[in-house]
Amino acid sequence: MKQTLLHLLVLRKLGYKGSRAAKKRIIFNLILITLVVSALIFAQIFVVSMSRGIADKYALLGNGHLQIHEASLGSLSEKEGVLDVQLVAQSYALIYSPEGNKMVRLKGVEEGYFNNARTSQITLLDGVPKESTTLEQVLLSTTLARELQVGIGDRVALMLVSDDGIRPQFCVVGNLYDSGYQELDANLAFCDYDLIHRLFKGSEETYYELLVAQGSIESLKQDFKAEGYAVTSWDEENFTVATNLNTSRQAVLGVMVAVAMLCGYFISELSRELVEDDKHQIAMLTLLGARHSLIRNVYFNTVMIVTVLSILGGTLLGVLLSSNLSPLLSAVADRSIPSLSYYLLEFTVVYPLGDILTIVLVLLLVSVFSVQFSLRRVKRIEPLSCTHFD
C-alpha cells in the first residue's frame, strides 16, 4: 500500500491531475534537460563522425590503412580482411604556375588506384584539357589549383631536385579533385606511377598501399610484421594528425561529460525547487505520519522520471539531428568561413555508442547522487511548519 501511495503522490507531482503550475514546471524542465542532452549527444556524434571522416581521408587518399615498404617488397601473401593492394611511388616536388608555387607530395599511382572506396572520398571535376598535348598529366586538388590559379588543361611545372641540379618538368593539369578536407588536399597531387620513376630516377619511395577492413588494421599489421614485412599503419605515418584527432575526440568527450555533470547538478536544483515549493505539503504529510523516506522517495522518483525521460528524449533527438547533418553542413558550406579548411563538410555519420553511454551514465549517476543529497532537506521540514499557532 506504500507503493500505491507513492504512485499516487508521484503522479500528482508529475502533474497528472495536478495543478497547471506543477505541470508547467515539469514540462519546462523536461524540455530543458532534453535539449541539453540532445545538444551533448549531437555534438559528440558530430565530432566523432568528423574525426572518423578525416581519418578515412588520410587512410584512403594519403597512405592506405597499411603501408608495406619497399625494402620488403615481394609477393604479398593473401590475407582475409585485405580489401585492396596498390603499388604506389611517391616523392616531394615544388609545383609552379605563373601565379604561385607550392611544395606538394606527389603520388604516382597505377590505373585502378581510384577504386570505389577511394572515389567515394573525392569529387572529380568534369572537364577536358583546352588543347591536345603530349605533356604528362597531373591530378591536383581544387584547393591547390585555386592557390596556383590554374584549371583543367593549364600547364604547371614540377621543379625537381636531383644530382644534376634543379630542372623543371612541364605537365598539364589533367583533372581536379576535391576530398572535402582542404588540409589534406592542399599538399597532395597525383600522377602516373611510371612518371614518378622517370622523374625521380630512384630517389622516390615505393611501397604497397593496403586498404583493409575496419577493425582489422592492428591484427593485419601484426600478421605482416610476423612475416618479416616492414609495415606501418596510417596513424603511424600521420602521427600528428592521428594524435590530434584522438586528443580532440577525448577532449570533447571530457567537455561533454563535464557539461553532463553540470546538467546533473541542475537536475538536483529541480528537486530542491520542488521541495521548497512543497514545504507546506511535506509538513502536512509528516504531520499525518508519513515517514521521511516515503517523502524523499516521492521527490526522488518524480525527478528521476523527468530525468530518464529527458535523457531518452534527448538521446533520440540528438541521434535524429545528427542523422540529418547534410542540410546543416550545406548551409555552413555556403558561407565562406576560413577556418572551415580544418573541417569536413561531408562525412558519414557514425554513432559512438560508448561515448553516448558514457555521457548518459555520467548524467544519470550525477543526478542520482545530487538529487539524493539535495533531498536531505526534507528531514529538516518540521510537521509544525504547516500550522498557524497562537
Binding site: T4, S19, L285, G289, R291, P383, L384, T387, D390
Partner: protein, 232 residues
Amino acid sequence: MMKSTEVLTLEAVSKSFPATLRGGEPIQILEGVSLSLNRSTSIAITGRSGSGKSTLLQISAGLLSADSGSIRFEGKEITKLDDEHLSRLRSRSMGFIFQSSLLLDDFTALENVQISAMIAGSSEKEASRKSLAMLELVGMQDRLGHTSDQLSGGERQRVAIARALVNEPSLIFADEPTGSLDERNAALVEDLLFSLVAEREVALMLITHNLAFASRCNTVYQLHNRNVEVRS
C-alpha cells in the same frame, strides 16, 4: 486484565523558548503542567493568546519536545520515541484538526482522507472504502472529487474532521477548529465533532478561545501563569 482507558497523561511538563534567535534569557511557557485524558472524554484548553495553549497541544502530540516532564500516550513515554515511532503513532492513534483545514492542495477531498488512511497502513481499496464512509458521515459525499480550492471553509473543515477520524484514532487534537468559520458553519462543525467523538469513543483535546464551545467538553482547563487549572 482490563485495558486501561487512559489515553494521554502529562506529568510536570515544562517548556521554554529562547527570547531571541541568538538565545538570551529563555521565556518560560509551561511549567510543571500535569493533566490526563481518558478514552471517550474531552478536555478544552482555554487561555489568552500567547499563553501557550498550542504549545501544550504540540507537546502532547509529540510534535514539540518538552524541556522536562513526562508525556505518556496510551501508556508509552513519547519523549523517548524516535521520529519513526512518533510518525507511526501520529498516523494510527492521533487525529489533527487545525484552524485552517490544511488540506493537501492538489488532491481531492476523497484523496485527502484516503492518503491519511494509506499512510496509516490501509490498502488502497480499504482506504477508499473507509474514506468514502467517513466523508459520507460528515456530509461530504457529493463533494468527493473537489479539490481544496473548490470547497468552502466549512466544507474543508468537515473534510479535515473526516481525515482526522478515518484511522480510528484514540485522540483528536483540535486547535481552534472553528476559528476561521462563520457562526453557522462553526456551529455545524462543533456539532459534527462532538457527535463523532462521542459515537466513536475518541478522546478530544480542544484548544479554543470560544468558552461556549469549550463548555461542551467534559473538563475545561484554563492556561494561566504557565500552568493549567480547571475552570469552574
